[in-house]
């Protein structure tokens, strides 16, 4: 009996009772589909959140609060340059929030609440943003020009079409020439008006210290660099500085979004195990029904192993088709989930293969007992059933 002979006979046997084969295959499909779906949807959500960092790298933010005054800790002007010398750092910018805030015009009374922030260094790339309208300005610029964060621009009713436009800053008009993109974690960058350090120094009496430093690094070096920042700037630790990683904020969000993944996964595995019981039950019934056939085949020269192989092969066939259907089901769920979240689906292909593997192992184990019973039927007894 060759493998091809065995498979042909398996198809015969399954086609005799297609409904039964389909139902036990469906059990496997639901279990495998659940595994693939749960992992696929979780991976897609995580991917969607982390994908916002991928092109840009991770953004680290250093800031602190003085323990004596409760005000923001001030870091020396040279801190930015010191951090720039740390290997793998891609961009650094320091900012200082000035005491006054922006007004749309000099005639609107009161303050908008949008802070005026002096910046040093390439603020867009260091904060993981880019200029989405207008142009970028250098922090060395001594002219009254500014860039707006994304939310600040919306609050002031300034879009790309209005650029350049003037806003009232500290008793003077400043021209807004660029608008920055949203940030992945909606940091304060989005709510600020950025003016160049050089301009702030000569017209607003800015001294050059910074209260916030943004550092962009590749994702893989983020935690290493994060550990170096405070010792570099403040070796004595008196400033009470802290580092926030955008990636860990995003990971925390991803963790929250996939908090029940483990539970769902465990339930899916249970579903696959239960489907194994279904396969076993179906085969046990088949062994009883096919006693006569087993006896005839034994009389014709089938070995015990040959009889057992027929039943194992049936279980494997059911598990294989069932798990392929389950994978399609799981991928479909993942794609639906991804469309819903408006992110690229992360199709868990390795997981799908593992799912097939689990289903095959479960089906093989489930078929062992029925196969052993079929193989141990004494041929004469099996034949007596015919009479």
């Amino acid at each position: 009996m060759t493998l091809r002979d065995l498979l042909t006979r398996t198809f015969w046997a399954l086609s005799v009772r297609p409904g039964r084969a389909i139902l036990s295959g469906l059990g496997v499909a639901v279990g495998v589909g659940a595994i693939v779906g749960v992992l696929g949807v979780s991976a897609t959500i995580q991917n969607g959140l982390l994908g916002q960092l991928n092109g840009l790298g991770d953004v680290l933010t250093v800031s602190g609060t003085s323990s004596s005054t409760g005000a923001a800790s001030l870091m020396a002007p040279r801190s930015v340059a010191m951090i720039r010398r740390i290997p793998t750092v891609q961009a650094v910018a320091g900012t200082f929030t000035l005491p006054s805030s922006v007004q749309r015009t000099q005639f609107v009374p009161g303050q908008s609440g949008i802070p005026i922030v002096a910046f040093t260094g390439p603020i867009a790339s260091a904060t993981g943003t880019r200029v989405i309208a207008g142009e970028e300005i250098s922090s060395r610029l001594g002219l009254p020009e500014a860039m707006l964060g994304y939310q600040a621009a919306q609050a002031l009713g300034i879009g790309g079409a209005q650029l350049p436009t003037r806003v009232w800053v500290n008793n003077e008009y400043v021209t807004v020439v660029g608008i920055l993109s949203p940030t992945p974690t909606q940091t304060s960058t989005e709510f600020s008006l950025f003016i160049p350090e050089a301009y702030a120094r000569h017209s607003m009496g800015y001294g050059g210290s910074v209260d916030n430093i943004s550092v962009r690094v590749p994702l893989s070096y983020a935690s290493t660099v994060a550990g170096l920042l405070v010792p570099t700037i403040d070796p004595s630790g008196t400033l009470g500085l802290q580092v926030q990683e955008d990636s860990s904020v995003l990971l925390a969000a991803a963790d929250a979004a996939t908090a029940f993944q483990g539970l769902f996964l465990a339930l899916s595995v249970v579903a696959v195990l239960v489907s194994g019981l279904g396969v076993m039950n179906t085969l046990l019934v088949a062994v009883v029904e096919r006693r006569a056939e087993i006896g005839i085949r034994r009389a014709l020269g089938a070995t015990r192993a040959g009889i057992a192989a027929m039943f194992v092969s049936e279980a494997v066939m059911v598990a294989l088709t069932g798990s392929v259907a389950g994978i399609l089901l799981g991928l479909w769920v993942t794609i639906i989930g991804a469309l819903h979240q408006r992110v690229a689906p992360d199709l868990p292909v390795p997981v799908a293969l593992v799912g097939v593997g689990i289903a095959l192992v479960v089906a093989c184990l489930a078929s062992l007992y029925p196969a052993a019973r079929a193989a141990s039927l004494p041929p004469s007894e099996a034949l007596r059933m015919m009479a």
Binding site: W12, R298, A299, G301, A305, S380, L383, A387
Partner: protein, 225 residues
């Protein structure tokens, strides 16, 4: 001396389970190649058990059984299965065809177990069915065939591997005498090389065999050639 085909040495078979039933009690005999032997006796005398043991479908409780000089007790499941597939053909009272397969496929299935290559099975099965006058019945399923036709398919299947031993347990038991006679013709059509061991109630059938073993209450009471 030519090798014996089947040899029983003081073979007993006891079925346990509730009350003990002694189906065979210290039976000794042998069959040579090409011999035609009928086993007769009342129901329950042990005929079927004797055939089942001779055909390796049942193991003896005591005593030794040799097929072509090899003791069954020393053979693995694989070796015994090969014996069944290549050296022994079976015919049963209730035909025992595989119901889901056609006449042709039933015969081809036996050829598969006999180790015949896939592409030779159908031609050989066709030739066998033609030989037993079933050429027009190849594509029929067992339930579409008469009893006599089913039994001839079963005989074609049993003779598919050209075995030296053909065992038939009441092959005409479910058939009318005329059909039964044609089935016995088929059984004996194997030529001189195939030994035939048949159990029967019918004196007409027994009369066609050259040697008669008479069983009574599990004992072999006479052996007449």
């Amino acid at each position: 001396m030519t090798q014996l085909l089947v040899e029983f040495q003081e073979v007993s078979k006891i079925f346990r389970g509730g009350t003990e039933v002694v189906a065979l009690s210290e039976v000794s005999f042998s069959i040579g190649p090409g011999e035609r032997v009928a086993v007769v006796g009342r129901s329950g005398s042990g005929k079927s058990t004797l055939l089942a043991i001779a055909g390796t479908l049942e193991r003896p409780s005591a005593g030794r059984v040799f097929i072509e000089g090899r003791e069954l007790g020393h053979l693995s499941d694989g070796a015994i299965s090969r014996l069944r597939g290549q050296r022994i053909g079976f015919v049963f009272q209730s035909f025992n065809l595989l119901q889901r397969l056609t006449a042709l496929e039933n015969v081809a299935e036996a050829l598969m177990y006999a180790g015949v290559k896939r592409d030779q099975r159908r031609p050989r099965a066709t030739a066998l069915l033609d030989r037993f006058g079933l050429g027009s019945r190849k594509a029929h399923y067992p339930h579409q065939l008469s009893g006599g036709e089913q039994q001839r398919v079963a005989i074609a299947r049993a003779l598919a591997s050209d075995p030296p031993l053909l065992i038939a347990d009441e092959p005409t038991g479910d058939l009318d005498p005329e059909t039964g006679a044609s089935v016995v013709d088929a059984l004996l059509s194997g030529g001189g090389q195939t030994a035939v061991l048949v159990a029967t109630h019918s004196p007409d059938v027994a009369a066609r065999f050259s040697r008669i073993l008479r069983m009574d209450a599990g004992k072999l009471v006479s052996d007449v050639s």
